[in-house]
Symmetry: C2
Subunit: 304 residues, 2 copies
């Protein structure tokens, strides 16, 4: 299986604190690096974690509140100043392109590389990117301005041919891809070897779902159903549920309830209000409802 | 004398490094805090240095290269989110206002405080702000895009009345302000006490000049003449003079030559290219020409 890891670059909501940057996450799948949101200071976090940011080819911005994208123009500029030539794909609300263009224009900058902008919409689920290994889709969140979550789904793996059978039956190389795709093997003498008897299951494809900045919103449950890892914002503790509703954010209990109802394997909580110095009480509250919860704290790495 | 100090928040050119933020400086004069340029991450630097950024009332942006202003929108947003109500004055190139407005509009933010924008021009010296204690002027730099330096000049102090004479002559209170302003004192019996015999000189007013992002440009010499502290960019060492000229930046030797020709009291060099890990060689080069030179390194505080 390919390594599939999530690195937290920022976990603060609204304003950065001395210890916590605004939202940004780096998702690595094999050789691919995906950046999810890009709060102010993300490029420095990437440097400090010795992540070579020129390897990032796809950046997904959930919405246009500043704590989710004010670091993007700086990262784009640094990629340019450091000599990038490979295209960069940015996915986000349409106005993001105008904001980037205007700032590049102000400095009379013509990027050395192609910035491919892909506008997102927050009305329906939509595939933004896919290749033979993974797909990335956006889906609607419930927030004050148009906001999307992102879900990263590994493609189903082909079945694996059992090595012992392969040698025993002397299966010719040219039929292997068909067998991996599920076909039976018909030997030269006409014997049919059912696919299930000569192959075994591959590992299940893995899924990471990112739910940033949303009120409690049950519509996301079928989308994130069964995810290996769900990140769900928890700006507030349970005693501020009214506050959360008013600002279209979620509490620890609400995030954990989504995790329970969607039967995910693991929950990460983040986007903590700057009022919380100690995050343990937030973790405790969430674990009461959904025990397999962790804190998405800056610098932590989670294997998916 | 009022405390008059400069705190370096960032000293890197173009891109931040792990150790150095892009340009930003905080100048404090008495109770007033002036922010000069605001590279990405400035608000976090201010927090880490325990500087209460709501006390900043005036922000001066030299030009629209990202390493000088990408942190401004984040700081403005945080001031809003943390409940600021006092007006904020921002001085910078006209397009900066559009850039700020567009980003506030994207997040549907209406600031809780008044942001007074004061457009600058890079053609002539111009007073941007003054009160009874200090004036701030912009002046042209020689760069790829319109760029200004800023000079902060204390107002001349009134003469001080000699306390011994004051008691001896029994000078009435109502004439004190006239005497401080330079008038002679005429006693009740008609005796004229010349101003110079009853007053003494106050300390000389102090000046801080900020010269960011400029090629070698002798036009600034008469403006910064005699400054107590001159900050002058030194993106490159002397062996990259051609590189500096091409990019409209300066070398250590050029900054130090300006300091010599302008007969300033002290020179600070900064805006270091990310290629320099060790800054001592830059300091050594500058000191060869102008011994009273220091490095404007992040976190340093200089008394003016």
């Amino acid at each position: 299986m390919l390594p599939f890891n999530l690195t937290i670059l920022g976990s603060s909501s609204a304003t950065p604190t001395s210890d916590r940057n605004p939202t940004a996450q780096l998702l690595s799948h094999g050789e691919k690096l995906f950046l999810i949101d890009c709060g102010e200071g993300s490029q420095v976090s990437l440097r400090r974690m010795h992540i070579h940011f020129q390897r990032i080819k796809h950046i997904f911005i959930s919405h246009l509140h500043g704590d989710h994208f004010y670091g993007l123009i700086g990262l784009i500029s640094s990629m340019h100043l450091l000599g990038r030539t490979k295209p960069l794909h940015v996915y986000g609300p349409p106005m993001l392109k105008e904001i980037l263009d205007q700032q590049l224009q102000a400095s009379l900058t013509t990027l050395l590389y192609t910035l491919e902008f892909h506008p997102t919409q927050a009305a329906t689920e939509e595939i933004l990117f896919e290749d033979e290994l993974i797909s990335v889709s956006s889906f609607p969140m419930l927030h004050r301005i148009p906001t999307t979550g992102f879900i990263f789904r590994e493609k189903p793996f082909e079945r694996k041919i059992r090595k012992d059978v392969f040698a025993l039956l002397n299966i010719p190389v040219h039929v292997i891809s068909k067998i991996k795709a599920g076909e039976d093997y018909v030997a030269a003498d006409g014997t049919v070897h059912p696919n299930l008897s000569i192959t075994m299951e591959s590992p299940l494809p893995r899924t990471y779902a990112f739910c940033s900045d949303t009120a409690y919103f049950e519509d996301i449950i079928p989308i994130v159903q069964g995810a290996d890892l769900l990140y769900h914002e928890t700006t507030f503790m349970n005693n501020r549920e009214a506050n959360a509703a008013e600002k279209f954010h979620s509490t620890t209990g609400q995030a954990a309830t989504i995790a329970v109802k969607a039967a995910v394997k693991k929950l990460l909580i983040g986007h903590f209000s700057a009022r919380y110095d100690d995050l343990q009480p937030l973790l405790d509250e969430a674990r009461t409802v959904f025990p397999a919860t962790d804190l998405a704290v800056d610098g932590c790495i989670f294997e998916i």
